[in-house]
Amino acid sequence: MNERPSPAASRLAAGATPAVSARGLTKRFGELVAVDGIDLEVPRGMIFAILGPNGAGKTTLMRMLATLAEPDTGEASIMGHDLVGEPDEVRGAIAMTGQFASLDEDLTGRENLVLLARLWGFRGRAARERADALLHEFDLAEAATRQVKAYSGGMRRRLDIAASLVVTPSVLFLDEPTTGLDPKARQGVWRMIRGLAEAGVTILLTTQYLEEADQLASRIAVIDHGRKIAEGTSRELKAATGSGFLHVTLGDPGQMHEVTRRLERMLRSQVQQSPEGGIVSTPVASAVEASEVVAALVAAGVDVSGFSMGSPSLEEVFFALTGEMGEADDTQGGDRT
């Protein structure tokens, strides 16, 4: 095991080449353009989130960056190595934990890790020691000799991530790392991801959970229908949709459509209706604009029983950008995979 520069030092050296750099990446499957001209630049040592609904193209984008799918057009490099020209160098620098556990279910946790350690070039005892160290780090030592098929979802995910760290990658791709996990296991994975980032690993993760992107990532790219529709820090994305959301509670829910039309005319922005509570919500540029809007509604005879203004949640940002609610996607049957 050699010394690597400390995280701080690698951050200083980050000026050279970004960890991930992509220009115009495109992938088609027949008629479907799964990824449509995406540009991406991820500096070294950062946690970067790709946020989007099911079928937005997140997984395809990730698979291209991990050398598992070849882009139709566009180019990309990982740690300065060209994705298409130097796939082996890229593979030496990355690790990927896919959406579905990439483990051998019949083997024990320890055997899975020893197998990978040997493939990386650890021999005999060194491979076993590397496996045991990982099992210890990921709190799986007690389950080491059990077959993976007997593991819980959380344990499986931990082992899957451990399997990506047999050799510490420069860039770690995590495709929906917490999908299907209970809240406790999700917190565990988040802690693990933060720990890896502290150790200097660049992390590119996809998620359909706005909260996850908000909690973990320094930068977020929002993609929908294969295109990147926004990118920035969580704060920047929120600011880009205006200072906040105005929520108006109507005394007479029957006025909802009329109020929606009125607001759309006044603000030229999308209006979201929540018929259950008789609430309409819309992004506004400022508190002053919000008060003017409410005054105008009252003057027009709308029965306003209450109103409030909040800084937009990432969910509202997502709504404003895509015209649909992120996590509500499933219930709308909006799976476009």
Binding site: S102, L115, L119, G121, F138, G188, G195
Partner: protein
């Protein structure tokens, strides 16, 4: 070695990549995986040996008398053939296993590693060869108990098993390609047996082709399974010519030369 501690007290230790292992080393690791599978899924051995045992016993005692006068006489003809048939049928399981593996994320992990791309398949082959040897040994043992006499002795058996491994190797590529092309394991099995049944039955594995219609005899004469069974009979029972063994090896050789690159192409196609 720098250590960073995350909130949970888990220490992430940075580990560098050791020197890159050789292609052979990669392949052996996958072979080790195949051996581990025997340990953890011993029931696969059951599938592996029950069919050939059944075939040997049923054909010997049900058809043996009618076909060759007596069960023992028939066994003398049939046993080398059933060895070839067993290897062919068992290759189907390997294709099913591959199709199952590909349906999960496991091969994505292998493909994103900097290893020899054919190594996972070489490992599958190691497992296959072990399976063929185990099944072959069991069938031969049963044959010996029932009265089969390999006239060529131990050397003949060693040569015969060598041929068996070569046949299994060649057949293995066919089912690896099917496993790569077909994403449902049961379809691999259906397609595999649909292709193998006529090939095995329309051969000289079970009967001499003399009573078959002429067009079928013409097929049986060039059917690779017939060529393999003929060579196997010669190696075990005596009288094998270099030409017979060469013809038996032709199909495995062609299959390897054509299908190994096809495998690589299908696997790396992305």
């Amino acid at each position: 070695m720098s250590r960073a501690t995350n909130g949970s007290g888990v220490a992430i230790t940075r580990v560098e990549r050791p020197a890159r292992p050789s292609a052979v080393s990669n392949a052996l690791v996958f072979g080790w995986r195949a051996v581990l599978k025997f340990k953890h899924v011993p029931e696969q051995l059951f599938d592996l040996v029950m069919t050939p045992i059944m075939f040997t016993l049923l054909f010997t005692f049900v058809f043996g008398g009618a076909l060759a006068g007596s069960a023992t006489d028939y066994l003398q003809y049939f046993l080398p053939g059933i060895l070839v048939q067993t290897v062919a049928f068992n290759s189907v399981y390997s294709g099913m296993g591959l199709s199952t593996d590909l349906g999960k994320g496991l091969f994505d992990r292998f493909r994103s590693l900097p290893i020899w791309p054919l190594a996972p398949f070489a490992g599958l082959m190691v497992g296959d060869v072990l399976r063929h040897l185990i099944a072959g040994a069991i069938i031969l043992t049963i044959g010996l108990l029932l009265g089969y006499r390999p006239e060529n002795g131990v050397l003949g058996i060693v040569a015969g098993f060598g041929l068996l491994v070569a046949i299994g190797f060649g057949m293995g590529w066919v089912f690896i390609v099917l496993g790569l092309l077909i994403r449902t394991p049961t379809t691999v099995m259906t397609v595999g047996f649909t292709f193998l049944f006529p090939l095995v039955f329309a051969s000289n594995v079970m009967v001499e082709p003399e009573t078959m219609p002429g067009w079928l005899q013409a097929f049986v004469a060039v059917n690779p399974i017939s060529l393999m069974a003929t060579a196997m009979r010669g190696l075990l029972g005596g009288g094998a010519t270099a030409a017979e063994v060469g013809l038996a090896l032709l199909a495995p050789l062609v299959s390897t030369v054509v299908l190994a690159p096809t495998t690589l192409w299908l696997y790396l196609r992305r």
